[in-house]
């Protein structure tokens, strides 16, 4: 079943001579429980696409539906994890994770239980009372994931959530996300420009063209699950990676030729 459908979505920033066409005729279907990863050259409109799905940005044209309902504005049914750290610094880990639940009006006891569950799920049991300033970058993103999941969203949208982390932490976070996804099976739309990350995580990798961004193709990743860092040394991994790299390389070469 299709969870998220984008049909002919376009977006242009600004007007007149300074207009920047970020997205042009985006068509995308993401299935229920799919872990979809979008890759594309820098500046091709990936964040714009995710922000439109999140409701933080409005499309100029096209139709965006989740569960066959039009998306209008941001909402608790789509959790977002940003690349920048967005924990509320005046709230503890526990209070951060409870933020959305409190807004929904869930009672204190239930809130506490749900938050505990997700804090444990991301491996931060024991840090409930810590303030964000005491956490490392990786830990902050774990809390951000827990905070988004605690709301029980229909979809989780992630815009290069591990982009600011060092290589080691990044790998740990990727494995964490895989294990969380195995348990929760939330539909995920994940954006990255790291091809290894894309192949390791994705059911399907969607490759975008250079700006104005379109979805160039969908590449299925046949690597069996559950996956972990060892999956990256399989021959399937290399094959898929090569395919994506060629696709991206072609994109950047035509871009260079046109300049």
């Amino acid at each position: 079943m299709n969870k998220l459908v984008l049909n002919g979505v376009g977006k242009t920033f600004g007007t007149g001579g300074k207009a920047v066409e970020a997205l042009s005729d985006i068509n995308l279907c993401i299935a229920e429980n799919e872990l979809a990863v979008i890759v594309g050259p820098s500046g091709c409109g990936k964040s714009t696409l995710l922000n439109i799905v999140a409701g933080l940005e409005q499309a100029d044209s096209g139709v965006i539906t989740m569960n066959n309902r039009n998306i209008e504005g941001p909402g608790a049914d789509r959790g977002v994890v940003f690349q920048s750290y967005t924990l509320f610094p005046w709230l503890t880990v526990q209070q951060n994770v409870e933020f959305g639940l409190k807004i929904k009006g869930i009672n204190a006891k239930e809130r506490q239980e749900i938050a505990r569950h997700y804090i444990n799920l991301v491996g931060l049991g024991g840090f409930e009372g810590a303030l964000p300033k005491a956490l490392s970058g990786g830990m902050k993103q774990r809390v951000a994931i827990a905070r988004a999941l605690a709301n029980k969203p229909e979809m989780l949208l992630m815009d290069e959530p591990f982009g600011a982390l060092d290589a080691q932490t990044r790998l740990i976070m990727q494995e964490l996300l895989l294990s969380v996804w195995e348990k929760e099976r939330t539909t995920i739309l994940f954006i990255t420009h790291d091809i290894d990350e894309a192949v390791l995580l994705a059911d399907n990798v969607y490759v975008m063209s250079r700006r104005p961004g379109r979805i160039r193709c969908r590449i299925q990743v046949p690597i069996p699950r559950p996956r972990d860092h060892r999956s990256t040394v399989s021959p399937e991994f290399s094959a898929v990676k090569k395919e994506i790299m060629e696709m991206l390389w072609e994109e950047s070469r035509t871009a260079a030729n046109e300049r």
Partner: protein
Amino acid sequence: MVRILGRNIYSTLTLSSFTFILLMWFALSYSGAVKELFLPSPGSVLQALGEMHEEGILVDYTLDSTYRVVVGWIMAVIVSIPLGMLVATSKKAEAILTPVIEFARYLPVVAMVPLTLLYFGIGDLQKFAVIFLGTFFQLVLMVSDVVAGVQRDLLRAAATLGASRWQIYRLVLMPASLPGIMDSLRITIGWAWTYLVVAELVAANSGLGHMILKSQRFLATDRMFAGLIIIGLLGLATDLFFKWLTRVVVPWNEKAGGKA
């Protein structure tokens, strides 16, 4: 660049700069290098403080001045914080208020003192008015800068967690602005002291500025110095109080506790 200094080294350096100034004062006055009329000795300033205390004006004037600063400044704070937040969050409010404020803040307060005397006489009300005029416009701009500078993704994150506009305002924008607002408060209360002394120098029946001006008529340099030292100490105490308050109010701030 900020170098990390040990706490001990830091306070030793602070202490020694004060000691140095004191020593220079001792040396210049007691050696007779500078006439007593221009630079009274520490001893005579201390004596002047004692005399003023006996006359009952030391504590009274200090309290009078402090009261004027605090009330005038709090009036400015109470009006400027909501206005600053409004300017930062509403384009309409920005269009209406910013040009007026930008114009008003370049009017030197000192030039408005005669007008305030005409409107409010020489009582406390006039002091409040001078302090208000001196801090209000700047505060609105400082607060609106702070609010506008709140990390945008923080607001977006709240929106994606289901927060309404008003909830984002109350639950995110306000607390996120608090550290910057505390800074603005600390800076402007310092200005409030300056404007108060200006107002008291021009016309007043009491207060530290009034005392300094009166002493000048009698060439009582020791009392003028005593007045300056009290104002300086009050300023220092206010600053320390605000740094402490900031640590209490926003203990979660990344920068909190960084500087002593």
